[in-house]
């Protein structure tokens, strides 16, 4: 009984501490991403890799049309000359701009405070994590996400997405979600954890480049960089520094306005951890 109460009050004090101090402050890592839109060809390989790595269900044409698909990594197309070739938007002379969009792992994530059961929270790795087992599917988090990157399991897809023997190719490192839970990009948390365990067993720190997300691994033009922002030698840290983008700010003070780095919806002060490098186009 005493251990029961002890657990409860320990959980309570941890909770109030996190509440008062705005979540974890003692980050062990701060995983972040850099995506160079100039290199992105919009080939969708990252999205496919994500499907394969993270056991994403293919929902079929009907549900996809109803916008009930679950593509954690999606390639968005934008046309900067909407009036050119208006009749057929896909054949505009300059083509589309592509934006790979996935969970931005906001440090001040709007999805976290609204979850009634605290199924989404911030890990000491700086990740915005989703606990599928805890989720009751109130879907408030998705409503509060400005990026609309949280996907809900509107149906059970196990039977249709992986008919036997297809279930043999599921990734054993992560779960297959059932209907009624929210899911989203985890920055391939299974790979992060595996690398951490390996490093711990070998008694060393995680090396930069040791962790590759599935999208990064697959990108044919290497447009995606992933790493630890707290590690000053990491390529990601260097890129953020080079583009003069800092965490914890809603407006960046850049000495060189030519620098391409920007974060989406920075003005909302959600403090995202994906740095996009603007596409350069001829005038």
């Amino acid at each position: 009984m005493s251990s029961l109460l002890g657990n409860i009050f320990k959980g309570w004090s941890d909770y109030t501490k996190g509440n008062e101090e705005g979540g974890h402050h003692d980050y062990e890592h701060m995983y972040a991403m850099v995506i160079d839109l100039d290199m992105c060809t919009g080939c969708n390989a990252c999205s496919t890799a994500c499907y394969a790595e993270n056991n994403l269900a293919t929902v079929g044409e009907e549900y996809f049309g109803a916008r009930q698909a679950m593509h954690w990594m999606r390639i968005e197309r934008y046309f900067d000359e909407p009036n050119v070739g208006e009749a057929e938007a896909d054949t505009q002379s300059r083509g589309a701009s592509f934006l790979p969009m996935m969970c931005q792992h906001c440090n001040a994530a709007p999805c976290e405070p609204v979850c009634p059961v605290a199924a989404t929270y911030h890990t000491p790795d700086g990740l915005n994590a989703q606990i599928y087992n805890r989720c009751i599917g109130s879907r408030y988090c998705a409503n509060n996400c400005p990026f609309r990157v949280r996907y809900f399991n509107f149906y059970d897809h196990q039977e249709t997405a992986w008919p036997a023997p297809m279930e043999q190719q599921l990734n054993p490192d992560i779960s297959v979600r059932s209907k009624g839970v929210m899911e989203k990009c985890t920055f391939c948390i299974q790979r992060t954890r595996a690398a951490r365990n390996t490093a711990k067993n070998e008694g060393r720190a995680i090396r930069d480049g040791e962790i590759q997300t599935a999208c990064q691994q697959t990108c044919p033009t290497s447009a995606i960089l992933f790493g630890d922002l707290l590690d000053e030698t990491s390529a990601v840290h260097q890129a953020w520094k080079r583009h003069q983008v800092q965490l914890g700010k809603y407006a960046q003070n850049k000495t060189n306005p030519e620098l391409r780095g920007y974060r989406i919806f920075e003005e909302l002060n959600v403090d995202t951890k994906v740095l996009y490098l603007e596409r350069v186009r001829e005038v």
Partner: protein
């Protein structure tokens, strides 16, 4: 019944103070017996609607939320807007019972009982929606902070948790309020009951004999709960509004939402009181109790609240329009011009223009016109809730996710079914419990008989020997001149 002149539209007195106490008992007890064919038809319709809801819920439980046609941008839709609608309906009872009780507006007495029942039942209806809209409905109790050895707590920062607390508290208190206010009447029922009703009322009336001590305790308890209930009613709908106001979405993140929601709640509650007032008066022949002058007062109250609601609505539009938040402005413009605009303008027409008809005495004294007007006021309020939830989600911040969605069949089934469930509860209530407060109507008649004078001024002069306020004012004016 020979003289029915005072029951017509020309009636000026709230109640005929010469009604015999015995006939009050007879009239009300009669209404609880012998359900006629119309009652069973209404009951059958309600049960059918509710069965459709059960079917939809079973379907949703088996196959998932997809049939509601929710999508990645529209995670909430009619479930949440109908939830807000029913929570709003529940505010009428508190207004009539508690607030008007405290300000000694005695015209509430013949009509507060069914309004209170409406409060309780609409809360019971509203409470269904946050549960059925959950993806994993079987885990709904996880929002409650119960003791587990895993030491896991719900997230107290989430407005949905506040909702759970607020609604549970409000439901408990309003059930208590309804029940306690009914005890003296239950004793009357017990004294006149036969068959299965006898043990029921004996048990429920808690040995009420009507002695002084019981009355004193009763009055005190009733007043206490009334005082407790008023802040609760304000807080519960403020908290419901925080489901939206605490988010960061354009069109939801609005500071004026709590008062706006409370005003909307009182508004739809009053409109629903008018609807049920007319139905009860017509079907139960309650012309002696639910009189036109009382209806008149309820209409005026509704009009005032409608204007408060309209004002807060315009304040919201103005603050968005003159603010510099572009996404919010886009949502506002899309409401007025986009695919949902017919519903938006429907809401504005029914919510802000239609109440002006209540200014007409002809409308206020015409049951048929008023019945449909009150229905459409509530249609407007339902549209309001829908127009809060859906247009915001159809736009939001991220352009790639902009889309228009229309509710799926499970959503319509649940909305219809909620009216069935409410109707079912209310129909059972009116036949098992007295829907007019007998003891309070007797009080009202008694007080009115003693204090109704044609000329108050004259009576004051007569009783106290000093000139009344009117005469005093007259002397002052003439003295000054």
């Amino acid at each position: 019944m020979s003289d029915r002149k005072h029951l017509t539209r020309e009636q000026t007195k709230d109640i005929d103070e010469n009604i015999a106490w015995a006939s009050i008992n007879t009239d009300v007890l009669r209404s609880m017996e012998n359900p006629r064919r119309g009652y069973w038809v209404a009951m059958a319709v309600s049960v059918c609607l509710f069965s459709v809801m059960i079917y939809a819920e079973v379907y949703q439980y088996m196959y998932g939320m997809g049939a509601a046609l929710l999508n990645t941008s529209h995670m909430w839709d009619l479930y949440i807007s109908t939830f807000v609608f029913w929570i709003g309906m529940s505010h009428s009872g508190t207004l009539l019972s508690a607030i008007l009780h405290l300000v000694h507006a005695d015209w509430r007495k013949p009509i507060y009982r069914f309004a209170e029942a409406m409060t309780t039942f609409s809360l019971m209806t509203a409470g269904i929606f946050p549960v059925i809209h959950l993806g994993r409905v079987w885990n709904f109790y996880w929002v409650m902070p119960y003791m587990t050895d895993r030491g896991i707590w719900p997230n107290f920062r989430s407005p949905l948790i506040w909702d759970a607390f607020a609604i549970t508290t409000y439901l408990t208190s309003s059930v208590l309020f309804l029940y306690i206010g009914m005890i003296p009447d239950l004793a009357i029922c017990r004294d006149n009951a036969k068959g299965w009703r006898k043990p029921l009322y004996t048990w429920l009336s808690l040995g009420w004999r009507g002695d002084d001590r019981q009355w004193r305790n009763f009055r005190f308890t009733y007043l206490m709960i009334a005082c407790f209930l008023i802040p609760l009613a304000v807080s519960v709908h403020s908290i419901v509004s925080m489901d939206f106001a605490m988010s960061i979405m354009p069109g939801w993140h609005v500071t004026t939402f709590p008062p706006y929601f409370v005003a909307g709640a009182l508004y739809s509650g009053c409109a629903a009181i008018i609807t049920l007032f007319i139905l009860l008066r017509y079907f139960f022949k309650f012309e002696h109790y639910m009189t036109f002058p009382i209806l008149d007062k309820v209409c005026k109250l509704t009009f005032v609240i409608a204007m408060v609601w309209t004002y807060l609505n315009l304040v919201e539009f103005a603050s968005v329009w003159y603010g510099h938040d572009i996404p919010s402005k886009e949502v506002l413009i899309a409401k007025a011009t986009g695919p949902y605009s017919p519903f938006f303008w429907g809401m504005m027409t029914f919510g802000s223009v239609l109440p002006f008809s209540l200014l007409s005495k002809w409308v206020r004294r015409n049951m048929y016109v008023l019945f449909f007007a009150s229905i459409f006021l509530n249609v407007g309020m339902w549209l309001e809730r829908w127009m809060i939830v859906t247009p915001t989600l159809s736009l939001g911040y991220h352009p790639q996710a902009f889309n228009v969605m229309w509710p799926g069949w499970t959503e319509w089934a649940m909305v219809g079914g909620s009216f069935g469930w409410f109707g079912m509860l209310f129909l059972i209530f009116v036949k098992v419990f007295p829907c007019v407060s007998m003891y309070e109507v007797k009080e009202m008649v008694f007080h009115r008989k003693r204090t109704i004078y044609e000329d108050v001024d004259e009576m004051m002069t007569l009783h106290s020997g000093v000139p009344g306020p009117k005469a005093q004012a007259q002397t002052q004016t003439s003295g000054g001149a």
